[in-house]
Symmetry: C2
Subunit: 302 residues, 2 copies
């Protein structure tokens, strides 16, 4: 296998995972590497050795530029990359140098975006947004980025106008593994009809979440409901409540869901059930496109 020689390296450094892509100057991907050295496992001086270990297969004596987005730019990360405040261009024009001693790489970090009122923050999603807009510069509408902390983002004239974060994904994880629901839920099972029913129920009575969750448990105890049905009902209950609250974002708007396959699929299914016609974009591709766009933008700058 010939060794990969990247022109530069794109990195998405999240809370629990790190992904790196070997890039050409033209924006093509030569290879990818992953690790579980997420921000939450590292103290400030452990980032550099973690990156050196991850990138070892691609390293030579020639120094290479690394451009990274995500939680490594937070206060608890490698270097704080101060938030840009909304409204702001989707594409960052400034990046922050991470302190390092290893001569083989030079690491710059893309800043996150903050909103002052209601208080909200993102780190990593701004780069996916920049990636989507790099390929769709005329887009005006709403981006939905489902994940641990799902974001709904209003885009107009190339700017992030406003956004709102929902804790839905993390609620799903905490409720399905750290409450009595863990006895009723199959960790990989699924049932589309149960999801649709729970979604419609949650949209019509979004306040009833805590009661609906106990019903998921009671149906398991009394009526032998399957673990896949229980999982789909929990998901439908949480996403339904989110869609009810996010309605000002998506109703009557052009919507693009940027996510990984399964989660994006169920958000699109939910939006379609409400009469929406969302488009799909792959989150990892958008991150790569976004880092490529930031690199070109920063190069063109002063």
């Amino acid at each position: 296998m010939p060794q990969i020689r990247p022109d530069w390296i794109a990195v998405d450094w999240g809370t629990t995972n790190v992904r790196a892509w070997a890039m050409t100057d033209a924006g093509d991907v030569l290879g990818a590497l992953n690790s579980t050295d997420g921000m939450c496992k590292l103290s400030r001086d452990e980032f550099e050795p973690a990156l050196a270990k991850l990138l070892a297969p691609w390293m030579t004596d020639a120094p290479v530029d690394v451009l990274a987005c995500g939680m490594l730019g937070s206060l608890q990360g490698w270097v704080e990359a101060p938030y840009r405040a909304t409204p702001c261009a989707a594409l960052a024009s400034e990046t922050v140098q991470a302190p390092s001693v290893d001569p083989r790489f030079s690491v710059r970090v893309v800043p996150g975006v903050r909103q002052n009122k209601p208080a909200d923050v993102m780190r990593g999603e701004e780069t996916q947004i920049a990636g989507y807009l790099a390929k769709n510069p005329k887009f005006d509408g709403v981006l939905c980025l489902p994940g641990t902390h799902t974001k709904w983002v209003h885009i107009s004239a190339g700017e992030i106008v406003s956004f709102q974060t929902f804790l839905t994904g993390e609620m799903f994880a905490a409720l399905s593994t750290h409450t009595v629901l863990r006895h009723s839920i199959d960790p990989i099972g699924w049932d589309d009809a149960a999801f649709d029913d729970a979604l419609a129920d949650a949209l019509s009575r979004p306040d009833r979440l805590a009661a609906r969750l106990f019903t998921v448990r009671a149906e398991g105890v009394l009526n032998g409901q399957s673990g896949g049905v229980a999982r789909a009902r929990l998901s439908g209950a949480l996403i339904g409540a989110e869609l009810a609250a996010a309605k000002p974002y998506w109703l009557g708007q052009q919507i693009v869901v940027i996510g990984a396959s399964f989660l994006a699929r169920i958000y699109m299914r939910a939006l379609e059930a409400q009469g929406g016609a969302p488009h799909f974009a792959d989150a990892a591709e958008m991150t790569i496109d976004g880092l490529t766009a930031v690199r070109q933008n920063a190069k063109a700058g002063p």
Copy 2:
């Protein structure tokens, strides 16, 4: 210290804790013992040794009756005490013998209560309800039993007419310790004004829970919100959503909150903010009164 010689022993065997009270035939409490041998830690044949160990300070050669309520009567417990179905008398007239070999005690278990539609179950709360009604036989109205799984119970003519369980307490625990909110929340801090604000906000827009939770985090990151304020806001957001959904239960009704001190206090504060005038009853006292009433009722029976 003279040894305690109970006429009988009352036991509340929950998921995580066991409490035992040494009782006289007249219903007076001579002493109490606790352990953390909750149902979730025990297989079926470990209940009897766990009870023998807990009750050792009170044991003599003379056999003693034990009457117990709670999760020991579940399918995963010591012996399954099949649910009674609503509508049903608050006071159980039948109990189930737990299999045991130790000649020093004989254990009977109070059955739980089920509701077929919407599916719902309780084990332990039915005994607190029976205790309240033993002292307040004319009560007609709503009992609120806040806890891990908060119950709202409609009582009329001495019967449990219907009830609804909310996962609120367990959601609070899972969200405050197993999501990003753990970085923002002080485990014992509190702020009444923050609770009141979050409660009012949640009552007016109960669908916005997942967004509100992320705002609690973002206010910590951006604006230095204290951990006590964050904890009170999470509590207010969850209890506000619960009150919004439980409104058909409490609006315009006579309400009694049966609980432990702090949690009962915040539920009462929340109900008072909505114009209610709830009364308070202590959960442990209601359990003791309820087991006393069941014992007398069962004695009077065939």
